[in-house]
Amino acid sequence: MNPTRRHALKNLSLGAGSFLLSPFLRQVELQAAGSSNALPNRFVFVVKSSGIIPDGITPDAFKGKDSSGSLFNQDLTNVPLPSSMHALEPFKDQLSIVQGLSGKMCRGGHSSWFGMMGVYMTGGEFDAGAVIRATADAELAKLNPAPFNHLGLAIRGKALSSDYGGTMYPGISAVGPGQELPFQGSPDIAYEQLFGSAVAASSGAEKRFKLQGNLLDFMVDDIKKVSKAIPSSEHGKMNAYLNAFEELQVRHSKLSSMKEQIAANAPGYSDKFTSTVEEVRQEAQFDLATAALIAGLTNVVTIRLDNVDMTYKKLGIDEHNHGIGHNEGTKSQTEYREIIQQHHSELLATMAGKLRAVPEGDGDMLDNTMIIFLSDSSDNHHGTGMEWPYLIVGGGGGKLKLPGRYLRYPKYGEKGCRTIGDWWTTLLNAYGNPIKYYGNEDLVLKQNGCSHAGPLEELLV
């Protein structure tokens, strides 16, 4: 750990109101003391639209080698990656590819909405549908608290929408039943929210952060005053309201106390953060996510990478993702997808590189991070749910037998086939949530005697 970071964390643990955030503070205290098993687990979920074609992320060496009814589990470090993933070659020891897991309990089509990480069917073509439970990324955020418990950054919103900027609800992540995770779609606003307490990003950001303290103080005083006129039987309700503002006061003062730490790690402010070019906005959001992780502002980030309506113009593409999915445009769908994948791989590699550069425990931050690249519509532009490919970069704290492996599970309906419910169960189990099975089961598999519904044992350490 770098000295600035450790120093700042030590200061932080002495901050006011630590009782409210004790799990987080306990963790950082242990960390500052150099205890390696207290290192935080960090997760970045990068959610792309229009599907991930399984073949597109399969190394040539493993193509066509059918596992016929059993798990195909190979060392990935010795085989060349597809050329569109070249940027990830230096991280191959920390790279894993998981294929073949089905998600038929989710909606198919342009987006599975919350199904992708919530494992259930919901929504329609334009409508994200009902939120019945916290999605798996949010469950992992609960286990790894930080000042910003679960950071949502978006380049685009809902699958087919043309909206961008401001607070967005792309319909992919939820913190609890009925409660969507808000995503910030404007990098400049995200910059202000994350780093504004320590860095003057735009004129007035730092000032605004300071002044917000006035509002919180006012609310706390005001609620205390009016509570006296409320029947005491109802004080519980007023106290809940009061506590919420007190918690914000604590976060506010904590961010103030982390000023040095935040300032040291904030990305340099530039016009990148106000750009309207989609690819630049992606870079900006990746920069923010990475810096927020390094500064200790968050441990879990979900990035809405693009959507079906978006066009990668800067990459020289003349067709929006929807058109590409429908084989329109001058190039073949495969060609388009390779160009885009190369760009995505570069984004992932840049993030991984920055994390690798920060020492932590006996290794570096990438060792304790999992960047999970996935799609909201499984295996294709109109996802079938037959399989849901995952590309993972990072060591994940050594809690799963994944780094450096290529895994392909048996096809849907074959003996030994498994589902994305099993996948998320595995992650939750590995990182401290003992849930027996996360999500809805695949009833057709169940009726046909395929006994899924539990963690992928072979991945657990």
Binding site: G166, T167, Q179, N214, L215, I230, P231, M238
Partner: protein, 789 residues
């Protein structure tokens, strides 16, 4: 009245007078001796629980001394006499062993176990009814001892807060409640009630242009049953984080138009005060107090000095938007105190209470005017206003339909996943059939409410179903066009014709369209104009891909072809045009409606347990405890047996104690499969079938004419529909929904009058509502801690 004061007065004295026998005797004497103790204690619990909690926190630390004498004198002998046979070391039924239980609860020993004992005694679940029963005073003594010792240990039982939740409401004795013997004067506790999500949606435009980007801060957990209970909903940090971001978004927009924000000069006090007041009235619905203006002005001045006018105005606007009254509706009862210690709601409070009860909106002008002119100060005044609102079709009253959605639970159907293959074409992909059946069920309810006669019986027995999906809507509009083509093409569209279309679609105005129909987004703007009709006709041609009139008029679009199957109909059997309803054989009311049957089914099978539980709890006022955590609740797989046969697992003695209340009722519904289709045979694996056995028995209802065998659900429903108790149970639920709390014996007068109003009006739901919303329970408030004021 004295009843409540006595009970309320008891808990504090626990601390000083641990000698419990006299306490208990006092309690028992205070009440009519025939009042069952559970009901009495329930009221006590309801009204004391929060007070206990707070009293607790204020106590200073004193050395903990267990009351061992009382344990030895009354508790231990009680356990030996009534519990030891089943819960001794060797018998340990349900894994509960009481033989070695520690007397030292005050020091925190065996807290879990003692809580279990308290709960079982309080709810009179133990000893079992077929064993020797303790005297009320014996039970009372043990409970008082446990509560006193728990309190010393720094804990309090969660039982009392649980009793305030809807699932515990049935513990109030039904016969007593409707006996007419109770003469206590009803009231609701003085309270805060969190803003409902629907009210928020309706008022958010008051916050200015930023409201377009608002998120819902007050989501209700999407659970089964009545959701919006005043006591259960808090504005916690999850709520506040959304409120804060909403307020910020709104304030950013508002300061763009604020003259104060755009000026560098500090505003005068008056200008500032008027800007604050204007905003305050929009979001808090009243004039700010002088002190409030002073506080906001102070916040402005302080912030302006540090950061300028714009930032200061932004914070002040946010602070007003975060005012606690826009988060909680405050119902304290600002009228004069009456002889029973109750205060009536003030005119304004009453206007809000009535408006929120029916319309999900703040009061309309007429209500506010009535309040201002002193015409909202009695039960009769409330009746006038409620009747006015109910009569006025131009006023939306979404709360009424929502009651039936929550009571019957049919609006949960869309959450039960049904796979396409198993049903033979129950298309799910892209279109959620169950969500559309919910709309059908809405129509079914609205049709009955429209007639407003014998409403509860009709809900349980009517065979008039609506089968409406997007294709029905389009076919009907198409049919209307064809019948009037010449006129419409010539641009002739007299008002009478426009009304005819509305009537055919069962609408009072186009504003009802999206409420009643589950239309595609692009059809939601349909306004009945010639252009809109022609657009639908075009869609019809292109989507049906034919000009064959027969197909265009009488078929479902391919996507909806299987839609009617849950009504035991094929697509080609009917044209599904509006107006409807259809009479369906083998159906009786809501409990045989596909939406209800799907909502109360499992993914891949029916669910007799849940269906039986529903009938037992909602219609018979029965009580079924939570499933014990030790129970393995899975149904054994066996492809040679029917579900009913596989459920025999639950007939083991320890299961049957609860399951006998549910399963026998649920078996009646086995004449429908899990998609809601009528059936005589149950499909097993590999194409095998077995005849359905739905014959069963109703028992222990507390009403003699109800008990007995029945052939199937249809016979069961017929019997239920005739029952007084069933009607009264439904009224109890109406009470809970509109009062936002559980009923207590204290509300007996209200419920008896409501039942009478319903009967005397020939079963009018409106009459029932007028009675409830002008009752003392609705109009009076009472602060439950006399000392706190």
């Amino acid at each position: 009245m004295s009843l409540h004061r006595k009970i309320n007065a008891d808990p504090p004295s626990l601390q000083t007078n641990p000698f419990i026998q006299p306490q208990s005797a006092l309690l028992t004497r205070t009440l009519n001796t025939s009042v069952r103790f559970s009901a009495m204690a329930l009221i006590a619990a309801l009204f004391c629980s929060s007070k206990l909690l707070f009293a607790q926190a204020e106590k200073t630390t004193t050395p903990i001394v267990s009351d061992k004498k009382a344990f030895d004198d009354s508790v231990s002998p009680f356990l030996t006499k009534y519990c030891a046979d089943c819960h001794g070391e060797s018998s340990n039924e349900s894994g509960v062993v009481l033989s070695g239980i520690s007397f030292d609860l005050a020091s925190g020993h065996d807290i879990e176990l003692w809580n279990t004992v308290l709960r079982q005694l309080h709810l009179e679940e133990m000893p079992p009814t077929d064993s020797e029963q303790p005297e009320p005073h014996e039970r009372d003594a043990v409970m008082l001892w446990i509560n006193a010792e728990l309190k010393k240990s720094g804990n309090v039982s969660d039982l009392y807060s649980k009793l305030e939740s809807p699932s515990f409401a049935n513990y109030v004795n039904h016969e007593k409640l409707f006996s007419g013997e109770i003469t206590a004067e009803p009231f609701s506790p003085a309270r805060l009630w969190r803003t409902s999500p629907e009210v928020f949606e309706n008022v958010k435009s008051n916050y200015g242009e930023g409201a377009r980007d608002f998120r819902q801060p007050f989501p209700l957990e999407d659970k089964v049953g009545i959701k919006d209970y005043a006591n259960l909903l808090f504005a916690d940090s999850a709520v506040v984080s959304v409120l804060m971001s909403n307020a910020a978004v709104a304030a950013d927009e508002l300061i763009k138009r604020s003259p104060i924000a755009s000026s560098d000069a500090r505003p005068s006090d008056d200008i500032l005060a008027s800007a604050i007041s204007e905003h305050f009235r929009m979001v808090v619905y009243r004039e700010p107090l002088k002190a409030e203006i002073r506080n906001y002005s102070e916040l402005f001045r302080k912030t302006a000095t540090e950061g300028g006018n714009a930032e200061a105005m932004r914070l002040v606007l946010m602070a007003v938007m975060l005012h606690h009254e826009s988060v909680y509706r405050v119902e304290i009862g600002l009228g004069e105190e009456d002889a029973y210690g109750r205060r009536m709601l003030s005119g304004t409070e009453m206007a809000f209470a009535i408006a929120y009860a029916l319309t999900d909106r703040p009061p309309d002008a007429a209500l506010l005017q009535a309040a201002q002119e002193g015409r909202l100060s009695s039960s009769a005044d409330a009746q006038v206003q409620v009747a006015r609102i109910l009569k006025d079709d131009a006023i939306d009253k979404p709360r009424i339909l929502r009651f039936f959605q929550e009571f019957f639970g049919y609006s949960q159907a869309h959450k039960v996943f049904k796979d396409e293959d198993r049903s033979g074409g129950f298309a799910y992909y892209g279109e959620n059939y169950p969500a559309m059946y919910e709309k059908d069920a809405d129509f079914f309810v609205m049709n009955i409410l429209e007639k407003d006669q014998d409403v509860f019986r009709q809900l349980l027995t009517s065979d008039e179903y609506y089968i409406i999906n997007r294709a029905t809507f389009r076919n009907t509009v198409y049919d209307f066009y064809k019948k009037n083509q010449q006129q419409l093409d010539a641009g002739e569209y007299p008002e009478a014709k426009q009304k005819e279309l509305l009537q055919r679609l069962n609408l009072k105005g186009w504003h009802e369209l999206n409420v009643k129909y589950n239309l595609h987004n692009f059809n939601k703007g349909f306004d009945g104009s010639v252009a809109a009709i022609k657009q639908i006709v075009e869609e019809q041609y292109s989507w049906m891909d034919t000009k064959d009139e027969d197909i265009l008029l009488h078929r479902m679009q391919a996507l909806y072809e299987k839609y009617p199957m849950v009504y035991d109909l094929r697509d080609d059997e009917q044209d599904f045009l509006l107006p409807q309803p259809y009479k369906r054989p083998n159906r009786a009311g809501m409990l045989t409606h596909p939406a209800w049957l799907i909502a109360h089914s499992l993914n891949d099978s029916t669910d007799p347990i849940r269906r039986g539980k529903w009938v037992r709890e909602r219609l018979l006022g029965g009580v079924i405890p939570d499933i014990p955590i030790t129970v393995d609740a899975s149904i054994p797989e066996d492809h040679t047996k029917t579900l009913r046969e596989r459920l025999q697992k639950t007939e083991k003695a320890e299961c049957w104690r609860c399951h006998k209340k549910m399963n026998p009722l649920g078996y009646g519904f086995e004449i429908y499969d899990d998609f809601g289709r009528y059936r005589a045979e149950e499909s097993l694996a590999k194409g095998d079938t077995r005849p359905v056995n739905a014959r069963s028995e109703l028992a222990d209802t507390g009403e003699q004419k109800l008990d007995g065998e029945f052939k199937d659900a249809l016979e069961l429903i017929d019997r239920l529909a005739e029952s007084d108790k069933v009607r009264q149970c439904m009224i109890r639920h109406v009470f809970r929904y509109f009062m936002g709390r559980n009923e207590t014996l204290n509300d007996s007068k209200t419920l008896v009058s409501a039942d009478r109003a319903y009967l005397e009006s020939g079963g009018s739901f409106k009459a029932l509502l007028i009675s409830l919303l002008s009752s003392d329970s609705f109009l009076y408030r009472k602060t439950l801690e006399p000392t706190s004021r």
